[in-house]
């Protein structure tokens, strides 16, 4: 089994009309055994920037701690929050630093940039950025997620419809993957508010 599939994960981010949504599954496993069903994979960097980390849980936790540290330093020096594009470049640089001994993580970054324009991107474990205008996916269920998102996505969705779409895409994809699932965790972010919801799917 690949080291990326050791803990199991599923992540997806989608762009809507002046908003974005980022969703993850909730399973923490050790290969075939499920350890916890409330594992947090999506982290808030600031009110308009979220990062989801799929892959090996220990590296996701270490990487998250390093990124929060770097962002807090940035806030102290610049006296403002980081833009999503800048943060994506930071994550990419940190991952490439470990080119020959990488973190086994695939981040999904979603944020509202200048003039609250939604920004999403993903990258591989050594920092190759992949910008997208519609959706990005990561994790053990990524292949199913690509299919589900391609079928269900349409541009310029309002927050409520975006939430429905991303939830259906996530739940139907993790149902085809034994290593991810046990519910979902969805954040829908608009310029004025952040809505966090827990989904109940097939609990297996």
């Amino acid at each position: 089994m690949s080291i990326f599939e050791y803990n199991g994960s599923a992540l997806v981010a989608m762009v809507g009309k002046n908003c974005f949504a980022i969703a993850s599954d909730r399973r923490l496993g050790v290969q075939l055994q499920t350890v916890a069903t409330d594992f947090q994979r999506i982290f808030k960097i600031h009110d308009k920037l979220f990062i989801g980390l799929s892959g090996l849980a220990t590296d996701a936790q270490t990487l998250y701690q390093r990124l929060v540290f770097r962002h807090k330093l940035y806030q102290l020096r610049e006296e403002r929050d980081m833009k999503p594009e800048t943060f994506a470049s930071l994550v990419s640089a940190i991952l490439y630093e470990k080119r020959f001994g990488p973190y086994f993580c695939q981040p999904v970054i979603a944020g509202l940039g200048d003039e609250d324009k939604p920004f999403i991107c993903t990258m591989d474990s050594i920092g190759a950025k992949e910008l997208a205008k519609d959706f990005v996916v990561a994790g053990t269920a990524s292949e199913s997620l690509y299919g589900a998102c391609e079928a269900m996505f349409k541009p310029d969705m309002e927050p409520e419809e975006l939430f429905e779409t991303i939830s259906q895409a996530l739940l139907s994809s993790v149902d085809r993957d034994c290593l991810s699932g046990w519910g979902g965790h969805v954040y829908v972010v608009t310029p004025t508010e952040v809505t966090e919801r827990i989904l109940k799917g097939r609990m297996d």
Binding site: Q33, V35, A57, T62
Partner: protein, 204 residues
């Protein structure tokens, strides 16, 4: 194979570990204590390579004590768990420890808690957890019978069910177990469950 498991009840947390010290086919002793008392209100049950287990848990114990000497107040359970994870994570890509840890503690403000820390430094706060081959049986038993806010009597009944299941179904089942509890009154040994007693030393 080493069995460690633990659970959180109403105002207390339990950690149970087998007490066999095994080397290949030989059982060196059957009363090896694998649940270390970190400080007045913390327990650390550990399983894995014997050298690493003893060395790492003692290292954590001494550092927890050092913090208390330097700062005059004890670490919270969450802080101790994150410190432990940090040590494991730092060593992971240099000289990894092969120790799985269940850290249970009682804090006045937040009550009892249990932390699952993998040998590759994945940290998660849980209500019930287990390591080793015994986990297949104890986790299943706990999934069936565990509920939140169990009393000590109910929890010990559940622990006994798990031990019976391990003894019945695991081919190299350890004969003896130690149960330790941590609650408002502190961390202490609760009971032993022995089916084989070491022969007492006799004078020549």
């Amino acid at each position: 194979m080493e069995c460690v498991f633990g659970l959180v009840g109403k105002g207390f947390a339990l950690v149970v570990a087998d007490t066999s010290a095994v080397h290949s086919i030989l059982v060196h002793k059957s009363n090896e204590d694998k649940v270390m008392i970190l400080d007045s209100h913390k327990l650390m049950g550990a399983s894995g390579e014997p050298g690493d287990r003893v060395q790492f848990t003692e290292y954590i114990q001494k550092n927890v004590a050092l913090y208390q000497f330097r700062n005059g107040i004890p670490l919270t359970t969450a802080a101790a768990a994150n410190f432990t994870r940090g040590e494991l994570a730092t060593a992971l890509r240099k000289n990894p420890y092969s120790v799985n840890i269940l850290l249970a503690g009682y804090d006045k403000e937040t009550g009892p808690s249990l932390y699952y820390i993998d040998y590759i430094a994945s940290l998660h706060k849980v209500d019930k957890a287990a390591f080793g081959y015994g986990s297949y049986f104890s986790l299943a038993m706990m999934d069936r019978h565990y509920h939140r806010d169990m009393t000590v009597e109910e929890a010990i009944e559940l622990v006994d069910k798990c031990i019976i299941e391990i003894r019945t179904r695991l081919v190299v089942a350890p004969p003896n177990f130690v149960i330790k509890i941590v609650d408002e009154k502190g961390a202490r040994e609760y009971a032993w469950r022995e089916s084989i007693k070491d022969a007492p030393l006799s004078a020549v």
